[in-house]
């Protein structure tokens, strides 16, 4: 990789670490550079220790890097905690008045310069200015970003911030970082998006009209992005009294005819499980996004995990078909969320999308903007097409298992849905025949659903060793494999987004029984490896599991594989 710089901005919660990170990322965006940012924070609003880590490259990057070129320390603790990650030529920039007796450390008082600029709150702009001066960026780029960032604010706010950024910039102007970054003001900007934002926009691309939620980290960001769209879109976002209400509200809204979703984390999803079953038996489309974090119970509220795979596949009592997807990139998350809404409606089933804190809170550059669908295909029966309204039966037995779905109060036909076992007309029934007919009808949908399931992403699938991953770790595993291949390893990877119904058919041609398979997962029991064995009989030989709540780094996989050879 020709350019690979990592900046770590650390400090207490409430010090505006993310703001500094966002400013630096936006400057990179202006220059046509690629970024990848991760957010690490504690479950508190003030104090403690947080960091934002921004990786900058001239190539497409989708993983964090383990060494730091520039450590931007808003407090002393940041230096103590992260000094060891510094690259030999790396620089520490700290928020101090007087010079510090640590090699390669620059002291700039962000607070003092902010006060000088006219407002202590502009310390973030000072820090961003100083960092960009060290990275050799022209000041005009930052000025442009600040002007856009504060476009809606008063002139004085804009002036203060630009003044602050300039003071920070001038404070270190003479001492440049060794990084040779090709700053440019004429390149075409690479769009930047947060993982949670990609899901929210995917919801809109799937024509989502209603969302209900109860706030829970790390899912809340999705709903905040959606809530902000209510002025421009035919969309209602309702904060429910609890997750049970949120799940039932989306089922109610979907029943009445609009595409709907909810987002939560594992604990909230636990509360929603009865509603997942209700969507299953009433055959009502509903999309549940589970942004995973470590559990059980409260676990680690602001950290990451991939540990709910078994739960969501089995959630709810008895059996009812469902889809489970775990996108591995913002592009895939955008498409998958839209697809989830479409498939929920087409098959009248619940769909669960698994993401996690690492994905939701990370910042990604996009190679190109998302594609907006020109039209939306609906799977709803128009009342005008019902020749005999009195004979309409919501749960009509069909070959595909899918019964034509009309909407309530939109015509003469009566739409009757029940979570009790029912007969074709929707009325409760306890007869053996009705029970068997309905279970079988719902189960038949799986055949069509399987045809919608795509294969895993292949990368050198012909190699002797295959790493198996799913969900948000896609870019991380891919980078580790690239590095191992560059070192001469005959290694590849398979990465799964479509997880349920299980893509058994897509694995047949891969000769997996002849490979050495290693599961790479962020849970402690290799849940995907268990699932693979359960569904196909294929045994996974080894695993590399990380379950400390922190994101996976390519270097960790690289080291683990080297240690195995």
């Amino acid at each position: 990789m020709s350019l690979d710089i990592t900046i770590k901005i650390g400090g207490e919660a409430g010090q505006g670490i993310q703001t500094v990170g966002q400013l630096l990322a936006m400057v990179c965006r202006e220059s046509g550079l690629y970024v990848f940012g991760i957010n690490d924070f504690e479950s508190r609003i003030r104090g403690g220790h947080s960091f934002f880590q921004l990786r900058i490259s001239d190539r497409h990057i989708r993983a964090p890097h383990h060494v730091v070129n520039l450590l931007l320390a808003m407090d002393d603790n940041t230096v103590t905690l992260h000094q060891h990650q510094l690259f030999p030529s790396g620089i520490i920039l700290c928020n101090k008045k007087k010079p510090v007796d640590i090699p390669r450390t620059l002291a700039v008082s962000f607070d003092e310069l902010a006060a000088q600029a006219g407002n202590p709150i502009t310390a973030n702009a000072v820090a961003a200015g100083a960092a960009l001066a060290l990275l050799g960026a022209p000041f005009e780029l930052l000025e442009k970003v600040l002007l856009r960032q504060f476009a809606d604010k008063k002139q004085t706010v804009r002036d203060e911030n630009i003044r602050a950024a300039h003071l920070g910039y001038a404070a270190v102007d003479a001492q440049r970082c060794t990084a040779d970054i090709p700053w440019s003001s004429t390149s075409s900007p690479k769009p930047i998006i947060e993982g949670s934002q990609a899901i929210a926009y995917g919801a809109l691309a799937g024509d989502c009209r209603f969302a209900a939620f109860y706030p829970m980290s790390p899912a809340t960001g999705i709903m905040m992005h959606l809530a902000a769209c209510q002025k421009e879109f035919p969309l209602v976002v309702e904060q429910a009294e609890d997750e049970i209400a949120a799940a039932n509200m989306i089922i109610g809204a979907a029943f009445a005819g609009v595409r709907s979703l909810t987002a939560t984390s594992g604990g909230g999803f636990c509360l929603m499980t009865e509603a997942v079953g209700l969507a299953g038996i009433t055959e009502t489309p509903a999309v549940f996004i589970n942004a995973q974090r470590p559990g059980p119970a409260t676990g680690l509220a602001t950290r990451t995990a991939q540990a709910d795979l078994h739960m969501v596949i089995r959630a709810g009592q008895d059996d009812a078909p469902r889809f489970v997807f775990a996108p591995g990139s913002p592009e895939e998350a955008y498409e998958t969320t839209a697809r989830a809404l479409m498939l929920a409606e087409k098959y009248q089933v619940p769909v669960i999308v698994l993401v996690d804190q690492f994905f939701n809170d990370s910042l990604y550059s996009l190679e190109k903007p998302f594609i907006v669908p020109q039209k939306i295909e609906r799977y709803i029966l128009d009342h005008t097409a019902i020749t005999n309204p009195l004979g309409y039966q919501r749960y009509q037995i069909t070959e595909s298992g899918i019964s034509p779905r009309a909407l309530p109060c939109k015509g003469k036909a009566l739409v009757k849905c029940s979570g009790n076992e029912h007969r074709e007309n929707g009325h409760t029934s306890e007869s053996s025949q009705d029970r068997i007919a309905m279970v079988d009808k719902r189960a038949r949908k799986t055949i069509g659903m399987l045809s919608e399931i795509g294969p895993p992403e292949h990368y050198h699938a012909d190699a002797d060793i295959l790493l198996l991953g799913w969900g948000s770790t896609r870019g991380v595993i891919r980078e580790a494999v690239e590095r191992l291949r560059a070192d001469g390893y005959n290694i590849g990877c398979l990465h799964f987004c479509d997880l349920w119904p299980f893509p058994t058919h897509a694995l047949e041609s891969l000769n997996l029984t002849k490979k050495r398979l290693i599961a790479i997962e962020q849970n402690s029991t290799a849940q995907f490896a268990q699932l693979l064995r359960q569904q196909t009989g294929i045994a996974v030989h080894d695993s590399f599991l990380k379950y400390d709540g922190r994101p996976l780094y390519p270097q960790e996989i690289y080291d683990a594989m080297k240690a195995r050879s």
Partner: protein
């Protein structure tokens, strides 16, 4: 004008003979006819319990969901299509116990629907345990030492939460109940009608005879339904004299009046427009 028979359902009614639910069912049918609503214009939503079976016994659109969760289903449906006319059928256990949180918040949202709570002060479907509204000291197989919890007072709670239509009906006075249901349905906003309903199988305290001796109509005693303090005082009355009728009524904006997207048309009636998303994505 629809006929009462238009609402007859083919489903077999599975209530005990003499159940108060029969007269509630008749009162609902009569109210729908009087309001000139045809079966296909009405959506009935319910949770779980004897009361929650009601939608099957009327010929209307229906969604029969989970225990305690009828109000969130109805709220979602109303937000998706605020032109729907929705009646929610719950029991006292379903609405005030399992679904208590939803009861509070549906009132706070002032979502425009009519909630009929078939309040028999006992769990019928699970055979006679105490419900949130059971009187103190009532003995059941599950409460052999008598009910120890203070009874839940739905009317006082609804008033305290700012409910704009608070009423109580009695299954033994179906004509009066039918009028209350009509008023509740005509009220713009959340309407609560708590319905005193004898359970002939499991509640041997609050029987028809017991109620007949005690209930009186608020309107016959000059109660002013716009007087909050008077309504709150009447809501505390229980025992020798039990008021029925409209306790309190006050209109205010409903939830669906406040979302910008709903002012133009119901969510369900919008066409998909790629231009908006295009603008949003181009701004990244």
């Amino acid at each position: 004008m629809p006929d009462l028979r238009d609402y007859d359902s083919s489903a077999e009614i599975k209530w005990c003979p003499g159940c108060g639910n029969f007269s509630i069912l008749a009162a609902v049918k009569k109210a729908l006819c009087s309001l000139n609503l045809a079966p296909h214009q009405v959506l009935l939503v319910s949770g779980i319990g004897q009361a929650a079976k009601t939608p099957h016994y009327l010929s209307c659109n229906l969604f029969h969901g989970l225990h305690g969760r009828a109000l969130p289903i109805a709220t979602g449906a109303k937000l998706a299509n605020h032109q729907l006319t929705i009646i929610v059928h719950c029991g006292d256990g379903d609405c005030y116990g399992e679904g208590g949180n939803h009861f509070f918040n549906a009132i706070r949202r002032n979502i425009d629907l009519t909630l009929l709570v078939h309040n028999n002060k006992v769990y019928g479907l699970t055979k006679g345990q105490a419900s949130p509204t059971s009187d103190l000291h009532m003995i059941t197989r599950a409460q052999p030492f008598g009910v120890m919890l203070e009874p839940f007072n739905p009317l006082a709670v609804a008033l305290a939460l700012g409910c704009g239509f608070v009423a109580r009906g009695y299954a033994g006075k179906p004509d009066h109940l039918s009028l209350l249901i009509q008023k509740g349905m005509q009220h713009k906003g959340f309407s609560l009608i708590d319905i005193l309903q004898p359970c002939v199988s499991f509640n041997h305290v609050n029987t028809y005879a017991w109620y007949n001796e005690r209930v009186y109509k608020l309107e016959q005693e000059g109660h002013n339904a716009s007087d909050f303090a008077a309504a709150f005082a009447r809501a505390q009355q229980w025992g020798d004299r039990i008021p029925i009728g409209v306790f309190y009524q006050k209109e205010k904006p409903t939830l669906t009046d406040m979302f910008p997207a709903l002012q133009e048309r119901p969510l369900v009636d919008y066409a998909y427009d790629p231009a908006r998303l295009h603008t949003l994505i181009s701004s990244l």
